[in-house]
Symmetry: C2
Subunit: 337 residues, 2 copies
């Protein structure tokens, strides 16, 4: 691999001139810049990022920490982050905490000296832990807020309001809530949003079915609670759980949406692959990633005067598909002849 000295030699100049010619192009005559560029091109020269990183104190790399790369939610966030980072001239380090909160601070520390800034998607850790973890490192939180840190999230409460409004418009009055893990930040916001929306809507009562694992399997238990509670509709914490509810209801002979309507959250790709397709609140997951990168890159710009960390909100919107409809008979457990 050619280095700056090789280029200098070929162009008949010094290494300093090579650096200047290729970097800003200032303080170098047009003629020499031409010669240097030609030499660099001929040798296929690329400045060594490690050396440059050492000297400049910036690695042109961002770090992304997610709890699970296989989870379609974070896969999309990662995709958005990767694309935007590359577009902004940054490489991307990725780490997967495997849903294990305690290792997250350690992963961030490992990042610390290799990246210029960190993007953190950590739904479960508590605020204190996160604040300490990113101490001294430019960071942006994804899909959650922590006081004192910049963040990008969606308007969960509004999504809940849209979901409940949709069900109310269809005529549902008794709606089950299948909440996610108690320590999930956006989970809390989604439930709060449902409660607030229920107060605004005429005659709607919420049946809080409990907390369930945010996966397909969690939906099974939630479905049984929903049936027991006699609701005509269920709002799930996320799509995977909603899919589990769908499957369990079908298994029990409860028809969707005739007997029970189901609404998910996130609009992950699989929501359209099932039948009936899932009505859900669309969350711009890749958009979250892109915006987070924009914020981080702006904060990294040395020409920028530092702004106080802000909490950014991206809009969501409900996508109505086949899993919601007008409510049927209250006692859907009686089978049709």
């Amino acid at each position: 691999m050619a280095n700056a000295r090789d280029v200098a030699q070929l162009a008949g100049v010094s290494v300093s001139t090579v650096s200047r010619a290729l970097a800003q192009g200032q303080h170098v005559s047009a003629d020499t810049r031409e010669r240097v560029s030609a030499a660099a091109a001929r040798l296929g020269y690329r400045p060594n990022p490690t050396a440059r990183g050492l000297r400049m104190g910036r690695t042109q790399t961002l770090g992304l920490l997610v709890p699970d790369l296989e989870n379609p939610y974070f896969a999309s966030v990662t995709k958005g982050v990767q694309a935007r980072a590359r577009a902004a001239g940054y490489g991307l380090f990725v780490a997967d905490s495997e849903e294990d909160a305690p290792t997250e601070p350690e992963l961030v520390r490992e990042f610390a000296q290799r990246v210029d800034g960190v993007l953190l998607a950590s739904p479960r850790s508590d605020d204190e832990t996160l604040l300490r973890a990113v101490e001294g490192i430019p960071a942006v939180l994804v899909s959650r807020d922590v006081e004192g840190l910049a963040s990008v999230a969606v308007d969960d409460a509004d999504g809940s309001a849209q979901a409940l409004g949709h069900l109310h418009a269809l005529g549902h009055r008794r709606v089950g809530v299948a909440a996610g893990p108690g320590n999930s930040w956006s989970g809390g916001r989604r439930v709060d949003g449902l409660r607030a929306a229920a107060e605004q809507l005429d005659g709607v009562t919420l049946a809080e079915l409990g907390s369930f694992p945010p996966y397909f399997s969690g939906g099974f238990a939630a479905a049984d609670h929903a049936v027991a509670a006699g609701v005509t509709a269920v709002v799930a914490f996320n799509d995977l759980m909603a899919l589990g509810i769908l499957d369990r209801l079908r298994g029990r002979g409860v028809r969707v949406p005739e007997d029970v309507s189901v609404v998910g959250f996130d609009d992950v790709p699989v929501a359209t692959l099932v039948s009936p397709a899932l009505t859900t609140v669309h969350v711009p997951r890749a958009g979250l990633g892109r915006r987070a990168v924009d914020l981080l890159v702006a904060a990294l710009d040395p020409a920028r005067h530092p702004e106080p960390p802000a909490h950014h909100r991206l809009p969501v919107e409900i996508v109505v598909r086949g899993s919601t409809g007008v409510p049927g008979r209250p006692d859907h457990r009686t089978s049709t002849p």
Copy 2:
């Protein structure tokens, strides 16, 4: 952030001693090593990876290139790679080519100076391009072979044989093949495997339905071809396509598996989330990633004498679920009264 000089100062030794004490522990008295370690711990010292990388010519970083991070297949590969890389003491750079083959060599070149080796998942590029792209960089291919490069893939042909064997055992004799893109390496192997297996099995004929996009949407077109061809079973190039076939068949009133059986390939998580659950050939995707890392890390070990690049094979096995059954009446287009 503390550096080696700070530690040296606190421990009352020189930087060289700090380095030696913390690195091999050789050529340093036990007493000094103790003092240095204590000082390092007190300052929270971590050797700067950039500086070390410059000096040693190794960054302790691997690069992973995939065509689409959102595709559950590559999401799983990425997860496996990340976990194993971290376990082996390497960081992970990730790049997404967005299914655009021409940018892949460029991405590899961007990696070249930042990573010690590259993991390449590129189903579509041609051999020449890949060979040139990784010239001079330690590399391992994932899910495809190229002569002259190390690779890890699964036994696609055996998977095909298992799939067809399963259908044959159920009594199917006329089986549709919904192939993937023509330039997909494993796609070619899967079709070849089906042809070879068909020759071995009694009375099985293959109806090659054509090439389709490897997504849900591609399955729609394939399903219509399958119905037109009057087959009792279809093997799809991958699970997403199989899911599309399932959905389209249902839409047309064709029952699965009573009228037509469907077999997928890969066993991505969503295969179990639909109803009927998809019978499919399980591919150890994360395992591919882990094994690829093992190979690459071994090749990077300077103590190792270089071995010729080998093509590794991981086993697959069919997972029978609800989408396959004994064949029904040949003319399933006639509706039941």
